[in-house]
Assembly symmetry: C2
Homo-oligomer: 172 residues x 2
């Protein structure tokens, strides 16, 4: 082979090797052990419902908060702080009018869940996440871990300190 | 005892007996067998989430649709019509702004679930409810069966015939 062909092959191989690497953004704050190991907890979509909400503005979504069994039990029993092992999942979908529902209601009033936006998790481990109220924070876009600065997530949740940093209340 | 005392006792007993009767409004259309036997299915609050929605207007609520395992499997597999045994639960809560969340976001944008309004169920039994697309309809206010005319419920759901009379789509 000519040297130029070898160079082209080498470049192609380098790109292929790069593409094969798992998506793992390296940041100072999550280098040691990314929250949830960089994976969505299996079965989270089957978890029980905590509550629902609508955010206007830039978010413009409909959202559902689900909890694993440890979290749901803590919510239902009013246990504070939440025990280690509790995980909260916040699912969100774009906020879209439903023409189909509006026709049935006879007026424009119905808004439903469109395409998913992202999924966020709060994971309770009072030792590992002692610096952030005992909670680790993670976000997934299209199932892939997104870069979030855990300290920033936590800073926003500080006003809810009285409810163990959880904004969402259980909806009976 | 004097006759008057006996009469008073008899009246008191009659009222006590009436109060002890289960709440069971009798209507022509559900005399034979009220949908769900006039009881909310046990454990429905633990069912998996189908989707969420917001209704404006007189309803002015946030709502979550849950499904029992038969319903969730049918939704996820796109099985139409839904098999007998499928039950859909529609929970709803008043639509209230969250001052707490708005403070954290730095703007008025957040609406959350307030007090519960009512819970509605759709129960699939292609034989018993053959006259209404195979679905029985029930509503509970404060856990007590409300009077609904199943034919009226069904009439509103007819436009969704192509999805087995279900307006709600599964939110991934």
């Amino acid at each position: 082979m000519k040297p130029f062909t070898i160079l082209l092959l080498a470049i192609a191989l380098a790109f292929a090797a790069l593409a094969a690497l798992p998506f793992a953004p390296v940041h100072a704050e999550d280098e040691a052990s990314p929250v949830l190991g960089g994976k969505m907890p299996s079965g989270y979509r089957d978890w029980k419902l905590v509550s629902v909400a609508h955010e206007e503005g830039n978010l413009n979504d409909l959202r559902a908060v689900l909890g694993n069994d440890v979290a749901i039990e803590a919510y239902r029993q009013g246990k504070l702080p939440f025990p280690d092992g509790a995980i909260i999942a916040r699912l969100a979908w774009s906020y879209v009018p439903s023409e189909e529902n509006n026709k049935a209601f006879g007026r424009a009033q119905s808004f439903v869940a469109g395409s998913p936006t992202n999924v966020q998790f709060m994971v309770k481990d009072s030792k590992i996440y002692a610096a952030t109220g005992g909670w680790g924070f993670a976000q997934f876009d299209d199932g892939k871990p997104a870069h979030v600065v855990v300290q920033d997530c936590f800073a926003c949740h500080v006003p809810a300190k009285g409810q163990d940093y959880l904004f969402t209340h259980y909806a009976p």
